[in-house]
């Protein structure tokens, strides 16, 4: 945990100092120190606004989104007792994608992505999970298989609807794609404060239930014999992590890979108890997404790589390396 926190601080600091607009790191450090009441800032007004109005909110959004996606992924894996579960399992991504596409295409002729895209994406995500739950979540509480299958059905249906809407308006395809691939580029302090309440609530709920998720690892039947209210716990955790994921997706688009790879990397390093996995997901998920975003906005600067591309590009090799190292130590 200490290692992970140190890593987070270094990553956040590093990301603040790096950007296409070169500002001497010393000046930024001096500026941050002056905000803490030490010394005086030597940054110009322009430089200061680049740091505080462009870089800082972007990093903050990355921290919040990364933490939420990783925790939601870890929670889903525990709730479904399936290592392949990710936060988009029940249709959050497809619903948000449809909502955002409708928003972008609906306005149609403007060249900008409308400001209410996040609202429609959020509504789409929540609607998708609700449909999945009403289709697959009823009946015997012990069956998560029907819920997952419901998610698959709802996802494919909404994705095809999204494709249809997207194809019907060729002028906005590029913007739809950019949104779908995910980006922190439009981050402002208001987008951070908008999703922060959801994310904080969801993370607190999921981390508080970590012990219950450990109990759930012996299966529904035995958890019930141990006094765990399995059905209620499941719906509660799914609702919480879906809500947080929907909020994040509405602000940053579809960033894949974080929710599945971060919990697994942690599992390989720190063991299988959710009491360790979920708190570490908060820290490592946040750090991972900020690193990925820093790569995305600097490698081909001044243009940017889609964040979803970078998370997979950075994440997959790290995952394979750790997997290999672990395998060797086990054998």
């Amino acid at each position: 945990m200490t290692v992970a926190l140190t890593l987070l601080v270094i990553v956040t600091g590093g990301a603040t100092l790096i950007g296409p607009w070169r500002i001497a790191p010393g000046l930024i450090l001096g500026d941050i120190a002056s905000h803490l009441g030490v010394g005086h800032s030597h940054l110009s007004a322009l430089q200061s606004s680049i740091v505080w109005q462009i870089r800082a909110p972007r990093i903050a959004l990355g921290l919040v989104a990364g933490a939420m996606l990783a925790v939601a992924g870890g929670t889903y894996q525990g709730v479904f007792r399936n290592p392949l579960a990710d936060p988009y399992l029940l249709g959050v991504a497809a619903g948000a994608g449809l909502g955002a596409t409708v928003a972008i295409v609906g306005v149609g002729h403007g060249s900008a992505t409308p400001t209410w895209t996040p609202l429609l994406a959020f509504a789409g995500a929540i609607a998708a999970v609700s449909i999945t739950w009403s289709v697959g979540g009823r009946g015997r509480s012990s069956s998560t298989a029907t819920l997952v299958l419901g998610g698959v059905a709802v996802s494919s249906l909404l994705t095809s609807a999204q494709t249809f809407v997207q194809q019907s308006s060729s002028g906005s395809i590029a913007r739809v794609y950019i949104w779908l691939l995910g980006s922190l580029g439009s981050a402002t302090w208001s987008s951070v404060t908008m999703i922060l309440p959801y994310v904080v609530f969801c993370i607190v709920v999921c981390v508080a239930c970590a012990r219950a998720l450990d109990v759930l690892s012996v299966g529904d039947l035995e958890s019930r014999s141990l006094g765990l209210p399995v059905a209620r716990l499941r719906i509660f955790l799914i609702a919480a992590s879906s809500l947080g994921t929907a909020a994040v997706v509405s602000a940053v688009g579809l960033i894949g890979f974080v929710g599945i790879i971060v919990p697994h990397v942690i599992r390989l390093v720190a063991g299988t108890s959710y009491r360790r996995i979920l708190p570490l997901c908060v820290v490592v998920g946040a750090a991972f997404l900020v690193v990925a975003d820093t790569v995305a906005r600097t490698v081909v600067s001044p243009s940017e790589l889609p964040l979803g591309v970078v998370t997979a590009l950075v994440g997959a090799p790290i995952f394979v390396l750790i997997l290999n190292a672990k395998r060797r130590s086990v054998e």
Binding site: R211, D214, V218, R224, S225, L226, L228, P229, G271, T272
Partner: protein
């Protein structure tokens, strides 16, 4: 006192009746074994007695209180359940696994209290698991694993323990070890045991009472010695059962009928 009673209990699943109108008493502080051929409804009945499966008709009473009226946690403080094939969570240590038994006693969101920790250590010592406590469950041998599973049930601190085929997959020595351990709980802890067993000799040796089930119904129940020697038992297996007395205990030798 901790007595379980099934009153006219029927359980169906997908319109198939698995347990039909079962009325039976599992007296406090005694060991009752349920025997019967495959498909007799033993597992379904013990799951219902443990409160982890709902009944279609009838009521299960715990000391004259309907089991279904208790909260999950209250029920789990009274009844522990060991299924035939427990799910072994990958990577969990023996100590953490045994500590799962304390779930109904401490807050779901907080850590176990020091009293919970004491119970866990006490169980680890009693079951000779202390040396294995940091080992991963999935790395244990069958016998060690079953001991840890029993450890979790004992850590639950209940007056009733229900077990479905607790000797599955164990060699003879470990079968005896597990059953001896449970007998100690009945003799010294006043615990009520309800277990299904396929081995009729073991059933007769360890149980005080035996319930015979077939086709979802209870055919016979009573003291172990009587039920083991009853013609209904042989009838339900469609076998001839020879009962041989070896040093005072009954050994049952099944013989096919057409010989």
């Amino acid at each position: 006192m901790s007595e379980l009673r099934a009153a006219g209990v029927s359980i169906s699943s997908d319109h198939v009746t698995l347990v039909n109108e079962v009325t039976a008493v599992f007296p406090s502080g005694r060991w009752t074994t349920i025997v019967g051929p495959n498909g007799a409804g033993k597992t379904t009945l013990v799951e219902a007695l443990a409160g982890v499966r709902s009944v279609t008709r009838g009521t299960i009473f715990l000391n004259d209180i309907a089991l279904s009226s208790l909260s999950e946690r209250e029920r789990a403080r009274n009844i522990a359940f060991v299924p035939q094939h427990p799910v072994i969570p990958f990577g969990m240590s023996v100590r953490d696994y045994v500590a799962l038994g304390r779930t109904p006693h401490h807050s779901l969101f907080g850590p176990p209290t020091s009293a919970d920790e004491e119970v866990v250590v006490d169980v680890l010592v009693r079951l000779d698991l202390l040396g294995l406590s940091s080992r991963a469950m999935h790395s244990l041998s069958g016998g060690e694993r079953q001991r840890a599973v029993l450890g979790r049930a004992l850590a639950q601190g209940t007056k009733i323990i229900i077990l479905d085929e607790p000797t599955t997959g164990l060699d003879v020595r470990h079968q005896f070890e597990v059953l001896e351990l449970l007998r100690r709980e009945v003799d010294h802890g006043g615990v009520t045991i309800i277990a299904t067993l396929h081995d009729l000799t073991l059933a007769g040796q360890f149980a005080q009472d035996v319930v015979l089930m077939d086709h979802g119904e209870v055919l016979l129940s009573g003291p172990a010695k009587e039920v083991i020697r009853s013609p209904q038992l042989a009838e339900s297996y469609e076998m001839t059962l020879r009962v041989v007395d070896v040093d005072g205990s009954d050994v049952i030798i099944p013989v096919p009928r057409d010989r």
